[in-house]
């Protein structure tokens, strides 16, 4: 061990109580509703995201019922199916995963993990949540608007998104969708500025960048990416709103609608929308994945009681994935047609991203190697994430190649691929993280039996849903079709599989109800957790109380003496050494 204490620092002065002026709530309203405390904002974000996610979950059941039993559910019309599909995708990707990882976990964990009392701009942080809530309400409002929500697909491709054949295209649906997205981006930008500047400026003494837990690295990098990528969606939304509302022609070519009705547009370029959308859309995959990568690293290290393998490499991989993900967007547009050299370029960059990603997977596995693995519920979810992410990532290698992608692109294979890699894998981390940090947030443990039931049904169930879906796609079943009918190339076994997948989806859905019940039940009835139930090293477990009080750390901010992964250090009295443990190290650990 190298002692890096500067010479002459033989005493450590008390941290000033407030370098950033602390906001103090004065009433019930400012404490729990219009609160500027990042922890309250985090819970508000998470609660809203989980609620709207529940809507998206129900929509997926309705879609599966139509796909699995088209005759029984003939009342679900194709238009309704498209609306369910669009809203399910949009909600899950943006309003649930992005908001939950960055707004929820980001707000809760960044100040606690870097040793700050709060975000640097608490008022802007509060505004961020309320604008997010407004965006969600506008989105929900579109369900009740005349014509219902938009059914343009979550990619909202023009020209079909604003023609009258698409549900909501000439009604309120698409307008409300675009307005909601614009609001979401404005709200996110406000939050994002906080996350970035707090990591840069809010760190406590001794907390160098290379001592940050990987969770913070993941959320930080994802936020930087989101800040640069969301403007692309913003521009696309504004331009499409112009097209729809005042009849300009950014994306709309001269087009005859329904075979007889020429539209006033002329000279717009739909491909331009695709470029803008995917310039946001691909980084978005990693905006969701990088926080998951970070969190899972911490879960694995803590629950395997072993330092993370290759910390430096993990940091570099996170940063390089973040940078690379900005130059791969056109791999979503192979079937839109492009110059072969461009296809070659984007296929190459896509495959190159597999390198840092694989480094991360190896490092997780090597962290587990000969670790003291505790199969707690967070650990089970973390392990299932690794497996699921590798599975989903491997089919990504197929789809990253132009020649393989073109025949598979419009089939259920793609649906299976991105649900494995971007749906199930991050959601596993969300669950693992909730089981891991719930004791800090509420002071009580989640119920173990319900948790294990939730894990096993979710883990096995999602494989029963999405593995067969790969086969359905490989035999050529197209995606986006509400029912297949009597199609010659679809064998009868596909119908049986579809019914099976639907049943599995309903069972998995039921397990999520158990989880939600557990969340509410354990607030009152859970086992008291104490300050540090997982015996973890990071600062959020060393707070003045549980749940952490306003200001997080009591009178004095912690001083950080070591990295976040001192588990099972030889010679140390316990199998973990907290980051703010000042005991000097000798060769074999604390003396």
């Amino acid at each position: 061990m190298v002692d890096v204490t500067p010479h002459g620092a033989d005493f450590i002065p008390a941290a000033e109580v407030a370098e950033v002026e602390l906001y103090h709530p004065h009433s019930w309203w400012t404490r729990y509703v219009f609160s500027q405390d990042a922890k309250v904002i985090a819970i508000q974000y998470a609660g809203t995201a989980l609620s709207i996610g529940l809507v998206a979950l129900v929509l997926s059941w309705l879609m599966r019922l139509k796909l699995g039993f088209p005759d029984t559910f003939a009342s679900i019309s194709p238009d309704m199916y498209y609306q369910f599909m669009t809203m399910h995708g949009m909600i899950m990707v943006i309003y649930l995963l992005t908001a939950l990882f960055l707004g929820g976990f980001g707000n809760y964990l960044i100040p606690l993990m870097v040793g700050a009392r709060d975000m640097v701009f608490p008022y802007v942080n509060m505004l961020s949540y309320w604008i997010y809530l407004l965006a969600v309400l506008v989105l929900v409002g579109s369900f009740f608007a005349p014509g219902g929500p938009t059914g343009a697909g979550w990619t909202l491709y023009p020209p079909q998104a604003i023609t009258s054949g698409t549900p909501g295209g000439q009604d309120w649906g698409i307008i409300l969708m675009l307005v909601s997205l614009i609001l979401f981006i404005i709200g996110f930008t406000m939050g994002g500025l906080n996350y970035v500047v707090t990591v840069l400026q809010g760190r406590t003494r001794g907390m160098t960048l290379m001592r940050l837990p990987l969770t913070v690295w993941g959320i930080f990098t994802a936020t930087v990416m989101a800040l640069l990528a969301f403007p692309a969606l913003f521009v696309a939304c504004v331009m499409m709103l112009f097209d729809r509302a005042i009849g300009s022609s950014f994306f709309m070519p001269a087009i005859v609608e329904m075979g007889a009705n020429p539209l006033p547009h002329d000279g717009g370029s739909p491909i331009m929308f695709q470029h803008l959308f995917w310039f946001f859309g691909h980084p978005e995959v990693y905006i969701v994945a990088l926080p998951a990568f970070g969190i899972v690293s911490d879960l694995i290290s803590t629950h395997a009681r072993k330092n993370i393998f290759g910390y430096r490499m993990m940091v570099w991989a996170i940063v390089s994935i973040g940078a690379l993900s900005f130059v791969v967007w056109a791999h979503h547009m192979y079937v839109s047609g492009m110059h072969p050299y461009f296809g070659f370029f984007f296929a190459t960059t896509t495959l190159i991203i597999a390198i840092p990603t694989a480094i991360k997977v190896y490092n997780w596995v090597l962290t587990l190697w000969r670790g003291d693995i505790h199969l707690t519920i967070p650990m089970l979810f973390a392990l299932s994430f690794i497996v699921t992410f590798v599975n989903g990532g491997l089919t990504g290698l197929f789809l990253g190649n132009v020649v393989v992608d073109v025949p598979l692109s419009d089939t259920m294979f793609v649906v299976a691929h991105f649900h494995m890699v971007m749906g199930v894998a991050p959601i596993m981390v969300v669950f693992g993280a909730i089981y891991h940090w719930y004791p800090k947030i509420t002071g009580r443990m989640l119920n173990e039996a319900m948790g294990r039931f939730h894990f096993w049904v979710t883990f096995i169930g999602t494989y029963l849903i999405f593995f067969p879906m790969h086969y359905v796609g490989l035999v050529g079943v197209p995606r986006r079709y509400p029912e297949l009918g009597d199609t010659a190339f679809v064998p009868p076994s596909v119908h049986t599989l579809n019914a099976f997948i639907t049943v599995a989806a309903l069972v998995v859905g039921f397990a999520q109800m158990v989880f939600l019940f557990n969340l509410l039940w354990s607030i009152r009835h859970g086992r008291p957790a104490g300050d540090n139930p997982w015996r973890a090293t990071t600062l959020e477990w060393q707070t003045a109380g549980t749940p952490p009080p306003h200001g997080n750390f009591g009178k004095e901010l912690p001083v950080v003496y070591r990295w976040a992964y001192d588990y099972s250090v030889p010679g140390a009295p316990e199998d973990f050494i907290a980051q703010n443990d000042p005991r000097p190290l000798t060769q074999g650990g604390p003396a």
Binding site: V197, Q201, G206, V238, S249, F250, M272
Partner: protein, 234 residues
């Protein structure tokens, strides 16, 4: 998408330079102790609000770079018909330059504690910005009078979109600048007033730079640059 990629290269450059100074090669598992000299942290000594504004301006830069990217992409199509930009834009540009200069004057007045000059400069900056906005509205009227409505052709649509987005950012800035003005006229010089003045000046300088780029693109001067870039790529 060339324009946004150029901006991203610049952002990556700044981030890379900053990261290279963050001891990314250190081996944290071999180190113990508080690392930094007390009482400072290893964080930059710049005020968080300035860093926050810097990050926000990077987002604004990305926004405009993406819109210009779309514009350039659309220009490439065979049916592109350029729309002549109104002459009034020259005057408006001069107004925005004046606003920027006035705010720079305000910053130096604030540093020298010349409260009278600070008040005048802040007011001048705000008035020049309002004049810029009024001029932009007149330019819209001239443009429409020549028959270029927002729906007329893509070049006209882009003209309205780009100027409107830039104008909205100026309006947002004016809200902040208005508050700084009120504070300057009410009270004495304080540390937070100096900071607010600096933040306004930075914001205006960057929006001026964005406007100059937009101006070049709208006047058609950037075409040669774009052709060269395209030639390099293909």
């Amino acid at each position: 998408m060339i324009v946004i990629l150029i901006l991203l290269v610049a952002v990556t450059g700044v981030v890379g330079w900053w990261l290279s100074r963050q001891r990314l090669m250190s081996k944290p598992w071999l180190e113990a102790g508080p690392v930094t000299a007390f009482p400072q942290t290893e964080a930059s000594l710049m005020h968080p609000a300035k860093i926050g504004l810097g990050v926000f301006l990077a987002v604004v830069g990305a926004l405009f770079a993406l819109m210009i990217s779309a514009y350039v992409m659309r220009m490439d199509y065979a049916d592109w018909q350029a729309a002549p930009a109104p002459k009034l834009l020259w005057l408006n540009t001069a107004m925005l330059v004046l606003a920027s200069l006035a705010l720079q004057g305000a910053v130096s007045a604030a540093h020298k504690a010349r409260l009278d000059n600070l008040r005048l400069a802040l007011l001048a900056g705000a008035l020049a910005s309002v004049a810029f906005l009024a001029g932009q509205l007149l330019a819209w009227r001239d443009f429409a009078a020549e028959g270029y409505f927002a729906t007329e052709n893509p070049a006209a649509s882009f003209f309205y979109l780009l100027t409107a987005m830039h104008g909205l950012h100026i309006i947002g800035g004016l809200v902040a600048l208005g508050r700084v003005n009120v504070r300057a006229w009410q009270g004495a010089r304080s540390g937070s007033l100096v900071l607010s003045t600096e933040l306004c000046a930075i914001y205006w300088h960057i929006l001026l730079a964005v406007w100059l780029v937009l101006f070049c693109v709208l006047m058609g001067w950037a075409d040669n640059v774009i052709d060269i870039c395209r030639g390099l790529l293909t």
